[in-house]
Amino acid sequence: MPKPEGTTDVILDVQGLKKYFPIKAGFLRQTVGNVKAVDDISFFVRERETLGLVGESGCGKTTAGRTLLNLYEPTGGEVWFKSDTLSNNGQGDWVNLNELDKQELKRVRQDISMIFQDPIGSLNPRMTVYDILTEPMQVHNKVDSATEGYIIDLLERVGLRPEHIRRYPHEFSGGQRQRIGIARSLALNPQLIICDEPVSALDVSIQAQTLNLLNELKDQFDLAYVFVAHDLSVVQHISDRIAVMYVGKMVEMADSLELYSNPLHPYTEALMSSIPLPDPRREKERILMPGDVADPSNPPSGCYFHPRCRYAQDRCKTELPAFREVEPGHWTACHFAEELDLQGIED
């Protein structure tokens, strides 16, 4: 597929991304099936925009984030990225990350970085903060006499102090460790950062600090984010647009306020009605989804959501709905998107 045309401020355009994990069994380790963790998703991200990627466990959002930057090798699809590093004129050229050779892929990694969920596991416990932060620069041979000053500046921008460079990760609290992780992701001055559940493991008040920090840094460094999370209130706060995933597929994508007030997919509707709201006066009218989340190694036929959908019809059992733009800027994958009158969260 040719590179995207039209909107000029798009920097990431994902088309039909797939990531299957083979299931091996038997003596000779034959592949007997596939876990379709990410199954043909398409979305895009603009400059200075935060795209939230939400869904429940097993929906593939974390895998999608990691496959995006080729941390896992994709099984199919294209990831078009407007890279500054790989461009000839410094303006940014479109490249397909899935088709780059090793050298180019390594170079483009300066433009896309990642923040991880686990503040303990994402930092090597045997390295000092200084080592952790300079490692990306070492990999790309960018260490010189100005590096120490640069790192100290970076630390201060994320709210830590210069003397922290000599410390080890275990000497910090969870929130501080996340800040170190954030600083590391900024070390090479990227254009896009994939945030993989960065606040899920933090206390409520630290979450707030970290989210504020991420927003500030977005302005300071001119960044775009793909924000993967399962907490819908957090995602809504930080995202400009949100994409909802279910069992490896994308079911809805829209501006965040639009998604919450006017969902077009039954799963989104049910998901939002399930969120416990901190408003004790509101009487909950919950839409319960019966049963368990579908199994990505053996998904239902037709629309994956049909066994739990209260609007399901015969067509839903046999035909996979296409992900299409039903209203301007609002995509969904439901056969009856135009007919259904779904309930959002009202103020």
């Binding site: 466990s57 206390d203 409520v204 707030a208 209130s233 989804m289 609007y311 067509r315 299409r324």
Partner: protein
């Protein structure tokens, strides 16, 4: 891309869809007046200490609250505030090196004949028969870590309790059904096949697929999320008088969490069970709890019914907490945060332990005087020097109180704090 159909085709294909209910106006929840219900559990000035290498940590410092029959009390706070330890204290299951250093926990156990027996749970032997009769059968507990080997009482009942304590291996040979059916029989006096039906229904309600098959499965065959749900079902299958839920849904997906919360509400309605619900999720506690206790560093800082807590918080920590969570539909540029970090327990601030992080700190007062826990409004307790009654009674404190201006006697809003 879907190709456009002709109008007649569209009409013919139009499916029959159930009408969705769009509420016209916001339905208001009527707060339950539970003040007349008999008391079920009385936690009175409980103190829990941990002896660690550097000294003694006061994990819980004189906490008191009451749970009535049919009431849900929520305990909220962040990590390290002591909420989990409190719940374990009720079951006398505090892990070493912790111990209960003072106070009482009175369980007003309802008997079959209508009378009530008072038992001080603190005085019972932690491993004795008496507490095991209560644990599981009358007071059940569900944890965040489902069925880990560190939680000896994930399942219930006197008979199970012994098996678990003596021989962990034997636990694995009991199926989910074994445990639940016995509990249900004990609680409801049903025959085995009837109890089995009830058990299957309960498993279905917690969202376990194919419950007819799962009832005969062993817990270790299930995935983590499923085990959590089974643990909840087992705990609820003994129809306890009191359920202690320690972050039961934190690890679950929102849709499953919704199912579990509905189930707990339903059971509460059916059986009149009381719940102590410990969580850090303000949305969950808003929905589930009738009354809320807010904890910070081992102390209660506020206690009042749910609606009043959310609408009229009187402690700056509660206010800050409520303002720091992102709310759906209300997008703000910057979330209000609580500055600083939870202090080191061996290096506590002087005066009010929250003062270094408080938006309304009054210098010369808050860093000197320790506020007392007081009832500042009817049935609304807090400890904050912004309120007159929270000042200690001695002469020095009273002199300090009126120095440099009087006490506002209410919690100012955060905007007002900016201009202080």
């Amino acid at each position: 891309m879907a190709s456009p159909n002709s109008k007649s085709e569209v009409e013919a294909n139009k499916p029959v869809i159930p009408k969705t209910k769009k509420p016209k106006a916001k339905r208001e929840r009527v707060p339950n007046d539970l003040s007349k219900n008999p008391v079920l559990l009385e936690v009175d000035d409980i103190q829990i200490q941990f002896a660690v290498r550097d000294g003694i940590v006061r994990a819980v410092d004189k906490m008191s609250f009451v749970v009535r029959r049919g009431q849900t009390v929520g305990i909220i706070g962040e990590s390290g505030c002591g909420k989990s330890v409190t719940s374990r204290a009720i079951m006398n299951m505090i892990p070493k090196p912790g111990k209960i250093a003072g106070g009482k926990i009175l369980f007003h156990m309802p008997e079959a004949d209508g009378s009530v027996t008072q038992v001080n749970l603190v005085e019972l032997e932690p491993d004795g028969n008496e507490i095991r009769k209560i644990r599981g059968a009358r007071i059940a507990m569900i944890f965040q870590e489902p069925m880990s080997s560190l939680t000896p009482v994930y399942s219930a009942g006197f008979h199970i309790g012994e098996a678990i304590k003596l021989h962990k291996g034997r636990v694995k040979r009991r199926t989910i059904g074994n445990e639940m059916i016995e509990n249900i029989q004990d609680a409801k006096g049903l025959e085995e096949d009837e109890a089995r039906e009830v058990a299957i229904g309960m498993l279905r309600k917690v969202g376990l697929p194919k419950p007819e098959q799962r009832v005969d499965a062993y817990p270790h065959h299930l995935s983590g999320g499923q085990r959590q749900r089974v643990m909840i079902a087992i705990a609820l299958s003994c129809y306890p008088d009191l359920l202690i839920a320690d972050e039961p849904t934190t690890a679950l997906d929102v849709s499953i969490e919704a199912q579990i919360l509905e189930l707990m509400q339903e059971l509460k309605r059916d059986t009149g069970m009381a719940i102590i619900f410990i969580t850090h999720n303000l949305g969950v506690v808003a929905e589930m709890a009738d009354e809320i206790v807010v904890m910070y560093l081992g102390k209660e800082v506020e206690k009042v019914n749910t609606i009043e807590l959310f609408e009229q918080p009187q402690h700056p920590y509660t206010q800050a907490l409520l303002n720091s969570i992102p709310r759906i539909g209300k997008k703000v540029d910057k979330l209000a945060t609580i500055e600083g970090m939870v202090p080191d327990p061996f290096n506590l601030p002087s005066g009010c332990v929250f003062h270094p992080r408080c938006a309304h700190m009054m210098p010369g007062k808050c860093d000197v005087v320790v506020p007392e826990y007081a009832e500042i409004m009817p049935k609304h307790w807090t400890r904050c020097l912004l309120h007159d009654v929270s000042w200690p009674d001695n002469a020095e404190a009273q002199a300090l109180k009126n120095k440099d201006g009087s006490i506002p006697n209410r919690l100012p809003s955060l905007e007002e704090a900016h201009h202080a």
